[in-house]
Symmetry: C2
């Protein structure tokens, strides 16, 4: 409801945003129906009812599709952390928020690993755009909890949260045992409770 002083550019931007959201929605449909492997520039153009040129200008390459998808999902995740309902969002204590963060983040990373591989090209996967989100968020909550060595602990706890996901998803890793995800979420809870609850006692 702002006043729009230069109507045309604003309108174009809004179109571009809608266009992008439409394309990403179609990508999500294609992934749900056929898997990550089957998403191609041509298939996306056809399904979206757009010319190949439009899809190409938007994403540049197949990897670009997945980079856009990761950015979009990552920004939604950040919004939930920054301003969504507690305990993931603000309004709960630091230990409870850290536990909630791991409970959401571990399955998120597992789910997004295939996208990250497709975004990076063969042989390289980087689910890393979120690593600094995790580190900053953990650092902030450790500050609230007033633990000693918060900078070093923030690095170590972020690695504890995100490292094992990468371990399970290495190309040479053994198939994760059924329930690996649940087990990581549970041991993350144990870790956080022990590291933070000590302060409540001290």
């Amino acid at each position: 409801m702002d006043v729009v002083p230069f109507g045309k550019p604003r309108a174009e931007r809004a179109d571009a945003v809608r266009n992008r959201e439409h394309l990403l929605a179609v990508v999500r449909e294609l992934i749900a129906e056929h898997g990550v492997e089957k998403v191609t520039m041509d298939g996306l153009a056809e399904r979206a009812g757009l010319g190949k040129g439009t899809v190409f200008r938007r994403f540049g390459s197949r990897a670009g599709i997945f980079r856009a998808l990761l950015e979009d999902d990552e920004s939604r995740f950040q919004q939930r952390v920054l301003s969504g309902p507690p305990p993931l969002g603000p309004g709960a204590g630091p230990a409870e928020r850290l536990i909630a963060y791991g409970r959401e983040r571990i399955p998120y990373l597992l789910r997004h690993h295939a996208f990250a591989q497709a975004a990076a090209g063969p042989g390289r996967a980087d689910v890393g755009s979120g690593i600094s989100l995790t580190r900053l968020h953990v650092r902030m909550l450790l500050g609230e909890a007033d633990v000693p060595e918060p900078d070093g602990l923030a690095l170590q706890l972020s690695a504890a949260l995100e490292g094992p996901v990468l371990f399970y998803l290495r190309p040479d890793a053994a198939e994760p045992a059924p329930g690996a995800e649940v087990s990581l979420v549970e041991s993350w809870r144990t870790l956080v409770e022990r590291v933070l609850i000590d302060d409540a006692r001290g």
Copy 2:
């Protein structure tokens, strides 16, 4: 002092071992004097007083020199953990051994990162041969300490130990603040004390 039933092959193997150890000692001298960058196949042959062919057959490539160096150092480190004096080696309690492991391992990884880059070639660094040593060792000590969720916690604590080293050493990372290494060792101690000491109370 074993009986050597087939003297010739055993003698050749001993020669090969001495040869390898001599070459690695020369590599260490070259690194100490001129840095990792300046180690070349030709320089190594000249300094060792051997033909280029011998060095080539031994290591295959410059990266092969650093792979051999990493293997050798890693095996020495493992020996200290498996049978060296406590608290790094056996004979101390699990919390004390875990703290000692981090105190030795964090500087070890920082020191070896340049070798690992040289061993892997440009753009890829993998200080990873030791990651499974860390995980197995942490898992064993958590079992001794009888914590809950030892498998998940072993993955998470290994990542907590080794992940931050990689973070500081990423090509795009900011220069680590002076004392980063000390700070990681200190926060590792905090982490271990909190995760393990709870059981002594429980």
